[in-house]
Amino acid sequence: MLMQQDGTRSADRPNRFAKGLAADRLTSAEYAENFADLHPPLTTHEAFVEAERCYFCHEPPCQKACPTGIDIAMFIRQIAAGNALGGAETIFSANVLGGMCARVCPTETLCEEACVRETAEGKPVKIGLLQRYATDTMMGTGKQPFKRAPVTGRRIAVVGAGPAGLACAHKLAELGHEVTLFEARDRLGGLNEYGIAAYKTVEGFAQKEVAFVLSIGGIEVRTGRRLGDNLDIAELRRDYDAVFLGIGLAGVNKLRLAGENSLQGVRDAVDFIAELRQAGDLSSLPVGRKVVVIGGGMTAIDAAVQSKRLGADEVTIVYRRGEAEMKASDYERELARNDGVLIRHFAVPKSLEGEAGNVTGLVCDRVIPKNGALLPAGESFRIEADMVLSAIGQILIADRLGNTESIEIAGGRIVVDAERRTSVPGIWAGGDCVVDGEDLTVVAVEDGKQAALSIDRSLGRSEERW
């Protein structure tokens, strides 16, 4: 896919092998190819053939494996019967962000892993792509299938417009409540807009989806409002009938190495990806020639693959434990390796090296795993680097929740019960900011939906409609 070894083509890109941070390493055709849709959509014919493969199982295991419980067999049957719009309605009624989930869910560890045809032949029905087919069909019509219930007059504040907040706001609006959606950033969508790898959600899909969600009506959007800055939780509690927190994890763990904040080229992977996602022109983005990414999760993989696709010559992931402990799925790791990313295990960053204010390398200690602990091997090695991206986890900035409120926190995240109620009456929470959050878009959607239903019940609405 990358064509850096091609001498003739590099000639027209003087920066292709430039040392240090440099933009404009590739031709525009290369950028376009590298950041095109990772899984192109199914054509109608492909969708029919694939839909026919579904066995319409009894109590389908795929549905159980979906955190939002989409009636998968039903929507596939609807596609097979020529009613993709009906299929989309089935999907959206369980998961209003079914369009994004179709693109970003690690289906290989969710629905498709559970598919009986995975068991039978190692070839699951392509549920994610079928879901995309149906949801694209409906979103292409510009309409959404839901109508608001009669207005209840209840007002609910939703803080954070990521998947959790959007799903919560939509369900509440559908149930007839008035929602005010507060968001710190300029654009809605949370990590859908600022975090997900660019090739998973092309052509501005995140914003199209936001518009789709908001089109139900009854959701008033206020951007530039950050809880803990110009938004106060105590006031929200006072002014609204209920509050939902879907603020994700706005902070990041630090490497705690000297030079982390001063050396040029050392930065946080989440910021790097956010900049990439917002860039109008990829050729304007500087990337190192030799990039090292520290971490073992989805963010590390995405940062590595996207640096490679921006034109980095060598990309290495450094992870302190083994292959089996990596949070990134088999599929994600394979994707990285196919792009030529090297993954080095059992290595703990020890120090950053720099020259004239620029990073030049990373020194790591070798470690040996023993009974779950990592013991020093008494040996270290150096990797040359002009860019070091840290992807060692995001954290909740808990003091934003305010001093007056005693929301229970455990392990750095908000504690909620099965209904997504926090320890403080009137405040619900969901998504990445809560304990047991699995850091998946689809889990955040389910949290938002369940919280909305719980809020609705707490306000004395009948449960019958659900």
């Binding site: 109608t44 014919h45 493969r53 319409f56 009894h58 049957r77 609807q78 019967a81 009613n83 309605e89």
Partner: protein
Amino acid sequence: MADLRTNFAGIRSPNPFWLASAPPTDKAYNVTRAFEAGWGGVVWKTLGEDGPPIVNVSGPRYGAIHGPDRRVIGFNNIELITDRPLDVNLREIKQVKRDWPDRAVVVSLMVPCEEEAWKRILKPVEETGCDGIELNFGCPHGMSERGMGSAVGQVPEYIEMVVRWCKANTRMPVIVKLTPNITDIRYPARAARAGGADAVSLINTITSIMQVDLERMTPAPHVDGKGTHGGFCGPAVKPIALNMVAQIARDPETRGFPISGIGGITTWRDAAEFIALGSGSVQVCTAAMTYGFRIVTEMISGLSDWMDAAGHAKLADFEGRATRNFTEWEHLNLNYVAKAVIDQDLCIKCGRCFSACEDTSHQAIAASVNGVRKFVVKDEECVGCNLCVLVCPVENCITLEHRTQGIDPRTGLPYAQPPLDWTRHPNNPTAKRAAE
């Protein structure tokens, strides 16, 4: 959302989807779950007269033929009518109807061909509060040898006679379920109407042997080494059923007579087709037996979404709309010319169209152009038979195009000519000439 409410011969249901009389409707447990799933009505599994219970085989009673990927495309059975005691069924019917007043509960009946036997069963059935009865004149196996089921349904005079008895002895709507095991379906339908029936339902199952076990040399499935003919149903019988429904719908003697369409209905589209050919409700058995009751969700949403898109607010808006375009061969326009066209952008160059046309049809497809593999239709040979369209694995790659301009190189005649059917065609020795 389109209005799916149905009033069939005075029997109301929230949607036209009924479960046909068969195992899915054999007991309250099933019927309750079916209603919970959303079915609009049921025809209860056929009841017989009071007495020693019916005995079914305890070996295989069903057989099937499978399409690719083990899709069930045809199904057959040698099951008899209900084998549960009459009073148990009646009690359950009464309770179910009480619990589900908005759903259609029709009771299927089959008793010996004597007026007293029918009188005896009608009264307790009427007392259940059910919405109507369906006379099972269709079952082609087991009961027919005992002078019931299709043994009655194959003799129009018997149908008329039994319907008269029923109408004389009950106020309930009477539906006559017809057997397809007959040469001309219009005769039993006319007999049902003549006897005063309120509606017909069709088709029941078609006499069949599913397979032969070549090791045992017995029809399969077998019961202790012997097999028997059973009743065929499922997707494969739909075309037969559609034709029979349409024949009755357009027969001047039965026009307007309510029809409940049955046979192979599996998706909303199948149902819509039956309704377009004149069915006022539809019944489903095999699809439910294959996939469970949940399929009705797809049927309801699919039908409703399609009606919305097509601009039909209620079922009556399209019921029977296709019947008027169902005619005799001799009335087809023989001057209409269509020819196949292959979309080269869609063509995957499999060449199936070529094999089919070259070997078995009109040698009207070329397999190469200037030595390059490419499939194109030769207008001078193509008769527009549709074979290539059907065997092509790519949807819409080959289409039949109606020609209206220029000269047909096959016949040398202009494409545009006034309509001409066989009744007026010069080659027809008995043609009705305008001059005569």
